[in-house]
Symmetry: C2
Subunit: 138 residues, 2 copies
């Protein structure tokens, strides 16, 4: 009876991990080194989902890839991303993969403030989001 | 019948993960940001076990913590650590936790060459290994 309750989160988690692996491969294909963080979101210390660098720039990424057109982040998500990036010496970025439109990358400063956190919808993506090539300056 | 065959590797893996988490906490306690890499060793791309940085230095770590006094690494382990570190812009380090003696950190250049790879025994640790404080220059 409990299986249905847990099925969706597990699928979402798998979809998230799969999207993160896709992102990792994109970086490697463009000459960057990148890793996925273990169990981000369930760690004792702040952790981004992905860390990528090319010996000049280091990028800490919170990645979202569920199948909706507006992605929401909590205040804590953004605060932890910023705190990690500040200590590590990385740029904080939010990466969102929209169904059929692919990846967009947001500077946290550009996200829409909501009562409970932040949002990144498709209009914001078109206005402020960067493509992968723009992100890495390719 | 298969349970016994798999029991030891799983325990070793858990011990490895637990040691990596301990290392992560050490960095955070000293003002560094650090993360564990997801599934290092089973990824398509090279990956260290731990990445740590303090906005000035970035350290890519291969960690070993099994309960023996000599730790062995394959040529591929060291080559992948070096390749990742070169692309990412990090310093490559081997971290070994010896039972009762704690952590020692090795520059890959200082490891003993063996026919199949590299070794770090307790004598090498005393001669060439750095303590955690020495590693971070505390």
């Amino acid at each position: 009876m409990c299986v249905c309750v847990w099925q969706q989160p597990v699928k979402q988690k798998q979809k998230g991990s799969s999207a993160e692996r896709e992102l990792i491969s994109l970086f490697w294909e463009h000459g960057w080194a990148a890793i996925r963080a273990a169990g981000s979101g369930s760690q004792r210390h702040p952790s981004p989902d992905v860390l990528a660098a090319n010996s000049i720039r280091t990028i800490a990424i919170e990645a979202k890839a569920e199948g909706t057109l507006t992605k929401y982040l909590s205040d804590a998500d953004i605060q932890q991303l910023r705190e990690f990036a500040r200590l590590f010496g990385a740029e904080p970025w939010l990466a969102v993969r929209y169904d059929k439109m692919g990846w967009y990358f947001f500077n946290p400063e550009d996200l829409k403030k909501t009562p409970k956190g932040y949002a990144a919808d498709i209009l914001l993506a078109k206005a402020k989001g960067l493509s992968f090539s723009e992100l890495i300056g390719d």
